[in-house]
Every structure is written in C-alpha cells, then in structure tokens.
Amino acid sequence: MILVGAVLVNNFVLNRFLGCCPFLGVSKKMDTALGMSGAVVFVMTIAAAVTWCIDHWLLTPNGLGYIHTLAFILVIASLVQFIDIAMKRFLPPLHAALGIFLPLITTNCAVLGAAEINCKQGTGFLESVFFSFAAAIGFGFALVLFSGIREKLAHADPPRCFRGIAIALVTGGLLSLAFMGFSGLVKLPY
C-alpha cells in the first residue's frame, strides 16, 4: 500500500513537486535517468535510515527537534559525497554518466523531503525506510517515464521559443495531469 501510494498517488515529483531539478536535468537520456534513479533509490533509503537514527537517538532525546533540518542536510551531504567517491571507484561508467548530477542529490529536496516527512509522521524505523524507498522508486519511475517522453521529444520540432526546458516543463505538467487520475487510489494518512 505504501508502495502504490508513494509511487503513483503521491508521487514525489508529479504530485508533491519535490526533486524537480534532477527531474528536468537528468531526463534527457533514458540511460542516465536509470542511473540517476538507482542513485536516488540508494541515497534516499540509506539517508532515511541514518536520519531516522539521528532523529530518534540523538535529536529527539535531547529536545533538539528544531535543528533536525540542519543535521539532516549535513548527514545527507556527507553521504552523497561518500557515494560519489565510492561510485567513482567501483562504477566509473555510471559515475561518468551521472557526472555533475550526483552532487546535485546533495541538495535534492526529495531526499530531505522524505526524511522530513518521516520525521513528521513519527513512523517506525522500518516503515520510514520503506516509505523513503518507495518514494524514491516513485521518483525513479517518474524520471524514467519522463526520459522516455523526452527521448521522443528530441525528434520533435517545437517552436523555437519552446525548445529545451520549456517544452520539458509543459510535458511534465501534462504528465502530472495524467497522474491526477490516481488520486484517491490509496488513502494515505499523510
């Protein structure tokens, strides 16, 4: 249920409009989109686990709920750095493909958003991790769908003023419109 909810109904990009930067930036080619999706799934799941631990064992007991955004940014940033280094070492082609976009996850609001939502819901550890995982899958799903359309659009011939990102935004809007059809499919508490 969480999976369906997060992937289809409350899709991060198409319904919450989180993570629009990589959504537009990395969706030109499907291969990079797939790589990016993988990276986001990986980062978001781990980030959820780490942030949950920090929130529950470090911040909340000390009454520091108000700085969790700050702490999360710090943790996520270092995490992405770590993945960046690890990927460069172990998966150089993927690293070359993602290029500039990997560090972008550092400041990806989707990652932070998932952590924040978990925090607000006060869900348990497993549930939090799973929700983040599902949300990331949803993000990846939207990204891959979108990249498919954009690969097709690469052969389209829009008016000059609509070329590039403008047409991508219009397409994103229409895609979002289509996803509205899923509303109410799963009644989620949040």
């Binding site: 389209a156 011939d157 829009p158 229409l174 419109l177 289509a178 059809g181 899923f182 109410g184 499919l185």
Partner: protein, 332 residues
C-alpha cells in the same frame, strides 16, 4: 555569359518513385467517417446541446490550429484534418450540456497546449483530446460530471442524472459485503440500464461514449480500412472483462459498455502518435490501459478512469516502444 538551361529538366529524387497513395488526410477522413454513427446517435439522444458542443469544439480546434501555425510561421496543417478529428473526439468526450465557453477553453488547450506547442501533428506525447478532457475534468469538475438524461428533450421533467458508472463504483464495495447486505448489491444492479439500452446508448454519459453499437460499427470500418489494427482495442477490452470477472462488482458487460471504454479502446487509445508502433507494444499498451482504467474505477476518486488510464499509458508508450523494438530479419 550565362549558360542556357538544358531542355530536359527532370525531377530528381531518391527511390522509390511510386507511392501507395495513402495519405494523412485520407486516414483522418476515415476516422471522421467512422465517428459518424456515434455522432449521430449522440445527437439523437442529447439533442441540440450536443450539436452546439460538437460544432464549437471542431470550429475552435480548426481556428486554434490555424492561429498556432500562423504564430509559429509554419505551413498551415488544417488540410490534414487532424484538428477536426481532435475537435470531434473532444466533443464526443464531453457531456452534452457543458457550457460552450468551457468547450472553447478545452479545445484551445487540446490544440494549443497539448499539440502545437510540441510542433504539431506527430510530435505530441499525449493524446490532445484526452489531455484536454483531463484538464477540463480537473478544472470544471461540476459541469464535466453533470449529465443530460438521454432523450431529455422528449421528457422535459428530469434533465440531469447520474451515470451508471457512479452506481457501479459502489458495487465493488457492495460486492465485498454482499453476504451481509444482499439488498444493497441488488439495488445497485437495478440502476444499471438493461443490456439493450447499454448497446444502443440509451443512458447518460458523454455525447459519443454512450452507444456501443455505433462505436463498434465505426471501429469495424477502421479495421476494414486498415486504419487501425485489432491489437489495442482487443487487449484493452479483454483486460477490462477479465479484471471485472476477477474483481467482481458490476457485470463485465456493463463495465465494457459504460463509460469511455468503447470509444477509448477504439478511437482514443488507437491514436497513432501516442501509442506504440509494434504489434507486441500495442498489446502491452492495451493491457495497461484496461488495467489502469479498472484500477481507477475500483479504487480511485474519479468514477471514470478511462481517459486517465490512456493518458498515463501515453506517457509509458515511449518505454514500451523502446522495449518492443522489432527484431530485424536475420538478426540473432
């Protein structure tokens, strides 16, 4: 010192030097012809408002197309009749009594935002008529779900009514609890029109979606003319049937014959531009449309999922295309 032109001046072009004489405008004309029966039935049941809606949509689409092409400084493409098809399909997917200005807004959205922004015919990722319908459904939810009663102009006492779909939606839930309250299920079933009415279209709904027979005649014409292939409609409808047999709720025939399934499967999902190219891809596409349509009907907050289902599958079709590329003759 200008040299003289030689006497012979031939056309130089790459082979082939002959053509099958098929053309885009001929295909669009075939679609229009295939929509004639359902248009006629729609007008019979819903009267003058239907005529006005259709006329408004078609006219607006043509004008918008012309203006867009003019603004872009490109060739006029009204001649290929695709704008007329979009206008007619949009109108057939609207309730007859909708305010005309909304029909105008929808038509402008269909041609302007969903089609010409992408460069015109052949470039749009989403079916323009469906995108416009979804847009209108979300923007003007009230008028878009206010249905004229068929033949209201004969019995002017009750003009608007609910569609059978809304009743059927309740039946999924009713079915689950059928043992506890058998009456609820029976009562819901009573509200579905009889099979004959479903077939000829004597029920509330959008102008063009009500008459299954008229739609089937049109689809048969398209199949005979080889404008469409059987894959998408068959996969779509078969999925709906199988799903409703498994999930229970309203009888399968009612699921197929109500709402936009028939017009969607035969006319909207088969739109060339937004559906996969290969036979295999078309089957997957049809299956996806049917499945999503039923999921939304059963669980979603909208009573009708057909247009959303097709729109979403439109988005998926580049992916399907990618994974169902034909294997070249002789390739391993």
């Amino acid at each position: 010192m200008k040299p003289k032109e030689t006497a012979a001046h031939y056309i130089l072009s790459s082979s082939p030097h002959t053509h099958s004489n098929s053309s885009v405008s001929r295909i669009m004309l075939d679609v229009l012809l295939a929509l004639l029966p359902t248009t006629a039935v729609g007008i019979w049941f819903f009267g003058l408002p239907a005529v006005w809606t259709i006329a408004t949509c078609v006219a607006t689409c043509i004008v918008t197309e012309a203006l867009c092409r003019l603004a872009m400084g490109r060739d006029n493409t009204i001649g290929d009749l695709s704008a007329v098809v979009t206008g007619l399909l949009l109108a057939l997917n609207l309730p007859a009594g909708i305010p005309l200005w909304m029909a105008v807004v929808g038509s402008v959205f269909a041609i302007g935002v969903a089609k010409q922004v992408f460069g015109g015919i052949g470039m749009n990722p989403f079916n323009p008529a469906l995108a416009a319908r979804a847009f209108m459904l979300i923007s003007f939810t009230g008028p878009m779900t206010t249905w004229l009663k068929p033949l209201w102009w004969k019995t002017p006492d009750a003009v608007t009514t609910a569609t059978p779909l809304a009743c059927m939606k309740g039946m999924f839930a009713a079915d689950a609890t059928a043992h506890a309250t058998p009456h609820a299920a029976a009562k819901a079933l009573e509200q579905i029109p009889c099979l004959w009415d479903l077939l000829i279209g004597n029920m509330p709904g959008c102008i063009g979606e009500v008459s299954a027979i008229a739609l089937a005649i049109g689809a048969a014409y398209l199949l005979v003319r080889k404008v469409i292939t059987w894959h998408i409609p068959v996969a779509f409808i078969a999925t709906v049937v199988v799903y409703s047999l498994i999930a229970g709720g309203a009888p399968a025939y009612a699921q197929v014959l109500t709402g936009g399934v028939m017009i969607g499967a035969c006319f909207m999902a088969t739109d060339y531009v937004t559906s996969p190219t290969t036979a295999k891809g078309k089957l997957v596409f049809g299956f996806g449309c049917g499945l999503l349509c039923m999921l939304i009907r059963q669980f979603g907050s909208y009573p009708e999922g057909c247009s959303f289902a097709i729109l979403i599958m439109n988005a998926v079709s580049p992916l399907i295309n990618r994974w169902t590329q034909p294997k070249p003759f002789g390739a391993k």
